[in-house]
Symmetry: C2
Subunit: 239 residues, 2 copies
């Protein structure tokens, strides 16, 4: 008799909701990455509209300002609930704060910077980060001629002290702006110090535990895609 079986002999596909308590009754639908990427664009847009005094915005106006279609915008938001009023549109300040909250940039996010070379110091001085509440709280390098120097209003710290320092700072995001050969080692140390999300500028595959997220940025890749299309449109000129 199956009544004896405390556990289902045929494992069900769906895991039982279990007792998550009152949290999120809505079954978590996975949000597509392109949707997440567009969220920053919407946020930027509503911040600007808000600054210009606009109180309400329609999806059609969002399309006009961002180049992303109204349908796409509505679909993207739908992953996170209801935001607007039919016939009216979206409240600008409300939309801003809700998107910021989804991305967890409604409050300051501490980030550590590894690699204080050209790119690293440019990022440190880039005002866009602070505007979006990303705050670089420490920067590390291995070069003796850099260690101890001040950059913005921070000392550049010896990379070997990363773990010690981040045990106090508890930053969970790191920007990796080091040469390719140093990237894996830098990532390993960062992860050991508690980092769980890495923005990697080195053209290298980082091997990380499954609980760590990596995103790669490559200028060369961007230029190469442009270069390809440029050549394509040249050859079309002959047709």
């Amino acid at each position: 008799m199956s009544i004896m079986l405390k556990f289902d002999p045929i494992p069900s596909e769906e895991t039982e909701p279990s007792d998550l308590g009152p949290v999120s009754s809505k079954e978590k639908e996975k949000v597509p990455t392109p949707t997440l990427e567009r969220l920053t664009t919407y946020l930027r847009c509503v911040i600007d509209l808000g600054a210009s005094g606009m109180e309400t915005v329609s999806s059609a106006q969002i399309e006009e300002h961002t180049g992303i279609s109204a349908a796409q915008f509505r679909k993207d938001l739908s992953y996170f609930g209801e935001f607007g009023k039919p016939g009216v549109g979206y409240n600008v300040p409300d939309l801003e704060s809700r998107i910021a909250r989804i991305l967890r940039i409604h409050q300051m996010q501490p980030i550590i910077l590894i690699g204080a070379g050209n790119l690293g110091s440019a990022l440190l001085r880039y005002p866009g980060l602070e505007e979006h509440r990303f705050h670089i709280v420490a920067s590390f390098d291995t070069a003796p001629n850099k260690i101890g120097k001040r950059l913005q209003d921070m000392d550049i710290v010896d990379f070997s002290r990363l773990r010690e320092i981040n045990s106090a700072l508890k930053a969970r995001m790191a920007i990796l702006a080091v040469p390719a050969l140093a990237a894996q080692g830098a990532a390993d140390s960062a992860i050991e110090s508690g980092v769980r999300a890495i923005l990697n500028f080195a053209p290298t595959l980082l091997r990380v535990p499954s609980h760590v997220i990596v995103r790669n940025v490559s200028f060369v890749q961007e230029l190469a895609v442009l270069s390809y299309h440029l050549a394509q449109s040249d050859s079309e000129d002959y047709s």
Copy 2:
């Protein structure tokens, strides 16, 4: 009797090849953007393998080094012809030169830089660009305290001279590293001077003629996506 029918009476979907002359008999299949983006990763990989003396590589080994699946690699290459030998693999130097040629980075690509601030000067000093034969041939800015200063081995030139200068240089790619409010104007001037591909670092929608290609880079976007996933994995910890 079907023997009479020289042509299928039901018109076929495919358009007739028409007389494109001897150029590209293979009908141009549109290459997906993700494929183009991965091409740089493959190139980087085969350059490294070549430097380490490897002569032949299989798609399985590419997967091992890049994290991109062997099937994906083969599918990606298939848009551009046949590259390997069944049972053997791909010749490393050959693969390198063919990918470089597809991306048109087998020969030097002149680029102009607009905006010689933190980010702009970091890009100018970034060795990866030259390694991939992207060569910044001029840099422009509007700030009087920057104009005339030397950066790498180049003078920073007054932005108002962009058109004049690029009529000689004939660069068709531009990197835009200016504040958001200056971006559209900078793009307009660049396009007027002959630029047809723009790498835009400003968080702004650029409005450009249809023959001009734009790619946008946003650090904030990348960090925001990381931030979202970080928050997600936190909430999973409670389950």
